[in-house]
């Protein structure tokens, strides 16, 4: 009985909160099909694309992945401390009618809690 109860909780939990993990190129290639679905998108912040309006907490930028496809992102809210060009970020939200990604959450994956940040400044 207990197993069933916990199983049920897990099952319904997955139903309410799953979001699909996509890369930028996947979303771009799917076009309108993904409009409105809850997505989780990974990519890098394109250099020179950041437009921040601190007063209204409005942030716009593009993210790109290895395939060099890019996607404009609109985010309202506090800009994370680590946010900068070329950083790996995860955005959660939906693709709007305007073709932009409207993010409710913006996560900066600091290369690690333990590893030093700003790896892009290391030599090579």
């Amino acid at each position: 009985m207990l197993v069933v109860a916990i199983g049920y909780l897990i099952f319904t939990g997955v139903q309410v909160s799953s979001s699909y993990y996509y890369t930028v190129s996947e979303v771009v290639s799917m076009g309108n099909k993904v409009q409105g679905a809850s997505l989780r998108l990974e990519g890098k912040v394109s250099p020179g694309s950041i437009q921040a309006d601190h007063g209204n907490l409005n942030l716009e930028f593009d993210i790109f992945d290895d395939s060099e496809k890019s996607m404009p992102v609109v985010y309202k809210g506090i800009i994370p401390d680590l946010f900068q060009e070329n950083l790996d970020v995860v955005v959660e939200g939906t693709v709007g009618q305007d073709g932009k990604f409207h993010a409710d959450r913006l996560l900066t994956s600091c290369p690690s809690k333990y590893e030093a940040a700003a790896q892009d400044t290391s030599p090579n």
């Binding site: 916990i6 939990g13 309410v16 996509y22 333990y114 700003a118």
Partner: protein, 663 residues
Amino acid sequence: MNEIGEFSLLLALFFATYAMVVPVIGDRLGKWQMVASAEYALVVVFGLHITAAICLLVALYSGDFTLDYVYSYTNRDLNWLYKLSAFWAGQKGSLLFWALILGFFATIVLLQNRDRNRTLMPYVVSIISATLLLFCLLTVFSAPVFEKMPFIPSDGHGLNPMLQNPGMIFHPPTLYIGFVAFTIPFAFAMSAMITRNFGDIWIRTTRRWTIFSWLFLTIGNLLGANWAYVELGWGGYWAWDPVENASFMPWLTCTAFLHSVMIQEKKDMLKIWNVTLVAITFALTIFGTFITRSGLISSVHSFGKTTVGVFFGLFLIGVIIFSTYLIITRASDLKSSNELDSVLSREASFMFNNLVLLGAAFAVLWGTIFPVISELIRGQKITVGPPFFNQVMVPIGLLLLLLTGLCPLIAWRKSTTINYLKNFIVPIAITFIGAITILFNGITEPLPLASFTICIFVGSTIVIEIMRGIVSRAKTAEENYIKALINLFWRNKRRYGGYIVHLGVVFFFVGLTGAYYNTETEKTISPGERIEIKNYVLTYYKYDYTKPNETLKKLKATLLVERDGEKVGYVQPERNIHFSKDIRGRLAPQPTSEVAIYTTPKEDLYVIFASLNEDESATFKVHINPLVFWVWVGGYIMGFGSILAIWPDSREKKRFLARHAEA
């Protein structure tokens, strides 16, 4: 120095291999000298790791930037404490640190068991050495901490400013200690299986190690939560991130194990179950390290990708196969002589508590590895976020809390209905009155109402149980109540330590429930303007700009805080810009927010300085987080209770001997 360190690590690899292989051969051949030599080899490994650790600390302290590790985690301006704590701030150093602690614990085990458990010891030594060998391999091949820079930079890259917080000095080592300590119960349990010692010797020998491990896992998780709360500046303390889950899962199964061993000690039941729990918990400590360091699950804070994950993965598979094999082949000998007496017995209720804890661990595991599972089955990577965990874990958590109150009230074996009524009637009456009181104080939502009600119930059962003990002791020993209380606790440390932990759990849940009423607001205001949230009014007063050193700029805002129209003080959230030097000596800016928290037992006022604009207006985010204070209080009470439970107790020993003499 560095060469000495590097060489020590290499030597340790050979000694650890020796200590793993030789005691088993020695035992099979009946050659005790061989076992003894392996024990010495294990101590030598510890000595070599101390040597390597000293070399690394010297390099960190003196700023020897010829080492890649020193360059990556420190710079000249860094406080010496953070320089030294960089030892465990990075992947490479933390692996050496892990090996160091394991060697230390192994040495203590050897000292404790010079004349005890001699049949078990060859295998204990071998299993601990096998685990140690994993870390030796990692420190030599996969993550060499003494790796040199291709050239000598003038200054280091610096420690990530987010990690420059006292919580970060203590949080990782505390968790590591918790993880590592659990190697000892695992080694003893498996050795008992190998040598077919099916009694509870291994449990008695490792009881303190288990609680010790549990204590450090508890405190480690709390410190992590606290660090996230004060440093990350998103207003919360737990986000169900894979890294957090990784340390939470073994905590859950360890808790289950702590309870189920009591059944084996007292009733000689659940033997297979206990061995299984030890194996699962140990596997989870490795699994946690594996997922966070292999890049298998993407986390907000994953480690750089290296071969470290592969080693952990292989070791994990080894642990699972090894322990499954042992449990299956020994299962028929582990059958209990006693059966469950009644569904309403304490054994049954403990069993139920165990299943719920294990279910909780499974739910967390499922949510954590869901992206991997979904990709395997449906070819589609799907993640589940905090809503999943909240939906699943809240009911499970409340059920567990309820059991915390119920289980101790249920007697061993069968008990009569009258007994139950007697035990339950007072707490239920108190709970009823309490529930009505909070209902009329505005807590009308079902979830918090249920949670607070259960908290009152559990709290009252514990307090009544303690009071009953005091009164009866005061009567029989003719002591005053305070003396009776102290003696009662001191003479039954294990039992009352447990009650204190349970009391901590109650406070902890009170704090968690407060999160239901969290509110937040975000506003851009000019000096003189106000932000209103709930019964607080914050007036933006001014900002200050300072530059303490070359690599740090500080912006500090000052806000006047009024509560219910009365001035209560100022909060000063900061926005700092740290500059870390890159390889060419250029400065790269990294902003960090230092939140200001005004704490009262009722609620936390949590203020984030989000940005300063050109027209001197500033953006603030303000949270009101009710009852967070009690999360930390509950945590420290849990810690205190478990320290009391592991404190050496001569009476416990006598009682145990007496019980076994009768039997």
